[in-house]
Amino acid sequence: MGRLTIPASPERLKSRRYPRTGVTYGCETAEYATLVLEPPDRPRETADRLRLVIQLEGVTKHYPRSNRPSVEDVNVFIDKGEFVFFIGPTGAGKSTMIKLLLREEIPDKGKISVGDIDVTKLRRWKVPAYRRSIGCVFQDFRLLPNRTAAENVAFALEVIGKPRSVARRVVPEVLELVGLGGKEHRYPHELSGGEQQRVAVARAFVNRPLLLLADEPTGNLDPDTSIEIMRLLDRISRTGTTILMVTHDSNIVNQMRRRVIEIENGQIVRDQARGVYG
C-alpha cells in the first residue's frame, strides 16, 4: 500500500507567506481519514473561505476544423478549498477546459478568472508567471526524464527563482509528505507509476499553489495505487488548496462524494455537491 503513513494525531503544516503576491495560503490542522475518504468538516472561517478561485463565465471555444471537443457557454464558479470532480464522456470537452484554464488556448467568448487574474486577457509574456501559480498533475506524469525525483520537484522552485538553499530545505519535506522519503535520488525510470505520480504531485504542490489541476491522474495506475494518490490529493485539499480533477474513474468519484460537475457535448449538464459518478 505504499509508504503513506496515517498518524494517530493531526499534524500541523506550516503556512507560508510568498513575497510576490503577499497572500498567505493558510493551512489548517489536517485530520487524516482512515479507510473511507469523507468530506472534511471544516470550521466555517472568514470570507477567505468564500473567495472564488475559478470563475468561468459564458466560456465558449469552438474547433471548427478539428476533432477536438468544443465547449459551449460554460458557467462554473469554484470556491477556495473545494475539491471538484470534472466528469463526462470522452470528447465532451474536459481536456479543453484544462487547456483553457492553463491558457494553452483562449476562449472565443466569455471570461475566465483564476484567483485575481483575468486569464483571457493575460498577455503572452505573462503566461509563464501565471502557470507558476497553478500546480498540475497529468495522466502521463510528465516528469523530466534526465533529472532525479528531487531535481524534478526542485525544478518548480528553480523556475520561480528560489535559491538552492530553499530547495534543499523544502524538497525533502515535500517528498516526505507524499510518501517518497528515501527515493529523492531515483530517476523517473527507476520509479513505479504510483511513485512517479507522487513526484508529480509533489512538484505541483511544492509552491503551495492556489489551484491544483489534475487531468486523469489515476489513468495509468492500478486501483490500489489510485486510492493512495487520491488520499494524497485529499490531504492536499485539506490544506486549503483548491483541486479540480478530471477523471473517468467512477469508483473514486463515488467513494469521495465531492462536488461533481458533469459535462456533455461541451455543456454542463450537472453540478452537484457531494455527487456520484452517475
Binding site: R132, C136, R142, L144, P145
Partner: protein
C-alpha cells in the same frame, strides 16, 4: 547547479546530433576564415594606398644617349613646372646600384644586366599626383626623353588584383555564411523537436521563455565560437605557411601582414559568429516552439 546543468544540457545536445554539429562548425569556420581573410585584405589595401600615395613618383626616363646639356635643360624645365614638388636626378650608375640592391636575391638577373642598359632618369615628386597626366603630356614628346611613366598606373593593376581578391573572399564568406546559418537553423529545429517533451514540461511548470530557449541558443553560440577558433587557427597557419613561407616573395611587395593584425581578428570573428548564431537560433526557436 543551474549553470552547470544548463552547460551539461548544451554539450549533451551537441553530442547527440554530432554530425550536424560538425557540419555547423565546419561551414562556420570556412565562412569566418574567408571573412577574416577579406578583412585582412581590406586592411592591406588601405595600408598600401596610404603608403604609396606619399611615395608615388612620376619617372622621366631619358634616352640612353642623351647629352648633359639636354639633361640640364630638362631638369630646369621640370623644376619650373607648377606640378612638380621635387626633382631628383638618378644617373645610370645610381640606377644600376639600385637595381642590384632590389634584386640581390636573384644574382642571375643582376649578372645579365650591366650598367649601360639602364637609363638615367628624373624621379619627380608631384604636388598633386592627380596632375601626373598633364606632366606626362608636357614631357612625353620632348627631345631627350625616352618615356614618362606614372608609377600609379603600374600600381593600379596591383590594386585591381587586390580589390578583386578581396571581393572574392567576401563573396565566398557571404555564401558560406548563409549556408552556415541555414545549418544552425536546421540543427536548432532538430534539437527542439527531439526535446519537445522536456520543453513542454518546462512550459507547463511555468518556466520563463528565456529559460526554455537558453540551452538551444547556447548550443548555436558554442558551435559558433568553436568555428571561429578554427578559422583563427587557419589564418595563423596561413600566416606562417603561406605569407611567410611559400608565397613570401609575392607578399614582400606589399607592406607586411603582421601577426598583430591577425590576432586582433580573434575577438572580432568570435564576436560576430556568436552574435549571429545566437540571433539565428532565437529566431528559429520562435517558429518552432509554440509560445
Amino acid at each position: 547547479m543551474r549553470a552547470k546543468y544548463v552547460m551539461s544540457e548544451v554539450f549533451l545536445g551537441l553530442w547527440r546530433n554530432i554530425s550536424m554539429t560538425v557540419a555547423m562548425i565546419i561551414t562556420m569556420a570556412v565562412s569566418l576564415t574567408m571573412l577574416g581573410a577579406g578583412l585582412l585584405l581590406y586592411n592591406q589595401v588601405d595600408v598600401i594606398e596610404e603608403y604609396y600615395q606619399t611615395n608615388l613618383e612620376v619617372v622621366v626616363y631619358l634616352d640612353r644617349d642623351v647629352t648633359q646639356e639636354v639633361t640640364d635643360q630638362i631638369e630646369a624645365e621640370l623644376k619650373s613646372s607648377e606640378y612638380v614638388a621635387q626633382v631628383v636626378y638618378e644617373s645610370k650608375e645610381e640606377a644600376f646600384k639600385r637595381f642590384q640592391e632590389t634584386f640581390e636575391d636573384t644574382p642571375d638577373l643582376v649578372k645579365a644586366v650591366n650598367a649601360d642598359v639602364l637609363p638615367s632618369a628624373f624621379r619627380i615628386k608631384m604636388n598633386d599626383i592627380a596632375d601626373a597626366d598633364k606632366l606626362i603630356g608636357d614631357f612625353q614628346d620632348r627631345e631627350g626623353v625616352y618615356q614618362v611613366t606614372n608609377q600609379r598606373e603600374i600600381l593600379q593593376q596591383v590594386f585591381d588584383i587586390l580589390g578583386g581578391a578581396q571581393r572574392l573572399t567576401l563573396i565566398v564568406a557571404l555564401v558560406q555564411g548563409i549556408a552556415a546559418l541555414m545549418l544552425v537553423a536546421n540543427t536548432i529545429q532538430v534539437a527542439a523537436y527531439s526535446r519537445r517533451r522536456e520543453v513542454a514540461i518546462m512550459k507547463l511548470v511555468g518556466a520563463p521563455n528565456w529559460f526554455v530557449q537558453a540551452p538551444f541558443v547556447l548550443e548555436a553560440v558554442f558551435a559558433g565560437i568553436i568555428g571561429s577558433i578554427f578559422a583563427f587557427a587557419t589564418l595563423i597557419a596561413a600566416k606562417f605557411l603561406v605569407i611567410d613561407g611559400q608565397f613570401e616573395n609575392l607578399f614582400s611587395l606589399m607592406p607586411p601582414i603582421t601577426l598583430q593584425s591577425i590576432l586582433v581578428l580573434l575577438p572580432v570573428l568570435t564576436g560576430v559568429s556568436a552574435v549571429i548564431s545566437a540571433i539565428t537560433a532565437w529566431i528559429t526557436l520562435r517558429f518552432n516552439i509554440k509560445v
